[in-house]
Amino acid sequence: MSAPNHDHWLSRPSTIRGLWIAFAIVLAFTVAAELFIDIKGYFGVDDWPGFGAIYGFGACVAMVLVAKALGVLLKRRDDYYHD
């Protein structure tokens, strides 16, 4: 993420820090908004406040972990089929 040449405003460390802060505010806002907007749950669990946030985050962590584990078994050098 820290590009050696800061040729573009998007690649400046200060911009990246700013983006992280903005992202954090947006994340907090989407959860806080549940105080005003009701997310209709269909099956009980999805009625809990912040369910979407926790479920989305948790599902992604789980999928990355599964992919990591599978990668140990199935990853090969990229010239595997070339011989």
Binding site: V26, T30, Y42
Partner: protein, 560 residues
């Protein structure tokens, strides 16, 4: 009596013309024929329009209807957008093959019977293989052969099913079939090959990324989505499709996460997205089938857009691995922005096409009270953002500075990308107009504050997960073995082992058996051969003497 020109035939004709014409005329045909086809598609009325005889069967080459029109329209639109993207860069034979391929897809869309469907199905198999081969290098040639073998095999399975159905029921009409006999299972299996259901899905990430930067745009659109249409027409509500669809969804996500090749990421994500449609067909209610059709329509647009974005990058840089790319937003802003819009659409962000169409599928699971399916679909939506929505734009356009400073895409590629990006937004912002085109009436309202907020939470926190786990997401110079390992590695190894075994048997035979047999033959020859005592020819006199001797002894024995 033919009152209208079959839309597919127009594209077949233009595919032939593309090979004959040169220069501006050819460009005109390549670009205008799909639009004329689109117009023709909208002239096809509902119901069976055309009846003909093939062998002893009455066939219906054209049957209209909202669902068929929807699919045919997006195929024709795609033929236009793909042509616009590639007409100045692609070889003429690639453009020609792509039109014939699109003609096959449109032909399947309007097929009223299984024979017509099968013929167009095979047309697609043949010309999509040509499109793969247009990749032009050794990888494309090998992948094309594997692709063709898989699709011809799938075609044979489908044909076995169709023939069984013809013999046993006498009907070849396209209608909902029950999975209660060998032949209907064969038909389902043949379609599942084209839908890229695991474990026979590996042909897709093997072949599509091997094609040219323009070819993969066409390939992404037709084969899997005609198969989805066939499933909607033939097997709506077949329960088995729900687990198959879910398997496709998660297989696509996991393998895309491990992938380094940009277009293989997108190829796995086709399997993932088609999984949503297959699952919806399995749920089988009107909302679900609407969802499957709508999602196929939206998916063709944003997936083609993503392949266009990747294709433009590969066309400009000649590089296709995440590890070689990065930082291209500096010099390819249009390609980057359009790619990001496609990525947001595939992730079903509010205001994009993915949101308004995938929501129908989730809604159908809610209506049927399928808790687990609903929750898995929600988890998968998060996973789509992870593996395609962020991963693709991040590694291609941001990530690190790769030092590459390529020009932005040529004007025609830009035009095609802007067109598709606009379509993604239009379908997302005005869902009502789009819902009106679906086969069943829609009462569903996607934009309620609660639903939008739920999806924003789901997706944005997936984004957080991506960036927090970024060190684990970094790509390496590796490939991940898929099921095609079986026929690319295991089968050749088994073959070589078999050959070695055969060699050993042959060597043993030569060492142990052959000398003995030779020895025996020599000894037998010594006695029975032309010079052997028992085998050689005798002179007449000798023979006469022996005969005389025999007769005398006979007479003597008789006399006694």
């Amino acid at each position: 009596m033919i009152e209208l020109l079959p839309p597919a035939l127009l594209l077949v004709a233009s595919a032939l013309l593309t090979g004959v014409l040169r220069g501006t005329l050819r460009d005109a045909v390549v670009l205008l024929a799909p639009l004329a086809t689109l117009w023709l598609i909208w002239q096809v009325p509902d119901g069976v329009v055309l009846t003909a005889y093939f062998l002893d069967y009455s066939i219906q080459p054209i049957e209209g209807g909202p669902l068929r029109r929807l699919f045919a329209s997006i195929f024709a639109f795609m033929a236009f957008a793909g042509a616009l993207f590639g007409f100045r860069q692609a070889k003429w034979y690639e453009l020609s093959a792509a039109q014939a391929y699109a003609a096959g897809a449109i032909g399947v869309s309007f097929a009223g019977d299984l024979i017509t469907m099968f013929l167009f199905w095979e047309l697609m198999a043949i010309f999509s293989t040509v499109v793969v081969w247009c990749g032009g290098d050794a990888r494309a040639r090998a992948a094309g052969i594997r692709y063709a073998a898989m699709h011809l095999l799938g075609g044979v399975i489908l044909k076995v099913g169709i023939e069984g159905l013809m013999v046993n029921t006498g009907s070849i009409e396209i209608r909902a079939l029950a999975l209660d006999s060998f032949e209907t299972w064969m038909i389902l299996l043949g379609i599942l090959v084209n839908v890229a259901a695991p474990p026979i899905s590996a042909w897709l990430p093997d072949a599509y990324p091997a094609s040219s930067p323009t070819g993969s745009v066409f390939l992404s659109a037709f084969t899997t989505k005609t198969a989805v249409l066939a499933l909607i027409l033939l097997f709506p509500g077949a329960d088995i499709l729900i687990p198959i669809g879910l398997a496709m969804i998660f297989y696509g996500i996991i393998f895309a996460l491990l992938e380094n090749d940009v277009r293989r990421i997108l190829a796995y994500s086709i399997v993932n997205q088609v999984g949503f449609m297959v699952c919806a067909v399995g749920i089988g209610t009107e909302t679900a089938l609407n969802g499957a059709a709508a999602h196929a329509f939206a998916h063709i647009i944003y997936k083609a857009l993503l392949f266009m974005s990747a294709g433009a990058v590969i066309y400009r840089t000649g590089k296709h691995l995440c590890t070689d790319l990065g930082g291209l937003y500096r010099t390819m802003p249009v390609t980057a922005v359009c790619g990001i819009i496609g990525a947001l659409a595939i992730s079903s962000f509010p205001l994009t096409s993915g949101f308004t169409t995938k929501a129908l599928i989730s809604q159908s699971a809610v209506e049927q009270g399928m808790t687990v399916v609903y929750l898995l679909l929600a988890a998968a939506s998060a996973g789509v953002f992870l593996h395609a929505g962020i991963k693709f734009p991040w590694f291609v356009f941001f990530q690190k500075d790769s030092g590459l400073r390529p020009e932005d895409a040529p004007w025609n590629m830009k035009a095609a990308m802007v067109l598709m990006a606009g379509a993604c937004l239009l379908l997302g912002i005005f869902p009502g107009q789009f819902y009106a085109l679906l086969p069943y009436a829609v009462t569903y309202e996607p934009y309620t504050a609660g639903k939008v907020l739920f999806y924003l939470q789901l997706l944005l926190f997936s984004g957080l997960a991506f960036f927090l786990m970024l060190p684990w997401m970094q790509r390496t110079l590796t490939i991940t073995l898929d099921v095609d390992w079986l026929w690319r590695r295991a089968l050749p190894v088994l073959w070589r082992l078999g050959q070695r075994l055969a060699d050993a048997v042959r060597a043993g035979y030569h060492a142990a058996i052959v000398p003995r047999v030779t020895n025996l033959t020599r000894r037998l020859t010594a006695h029975l051969g032309p010079n052997g005592i028992l085998g050689r020819s005798w002179q007449i006199g000798t023979t006469a003497m022996w005969v005389a001797l025999l007769l005398i002894s006979y007479v003597a024995i008789y006399a006694l």
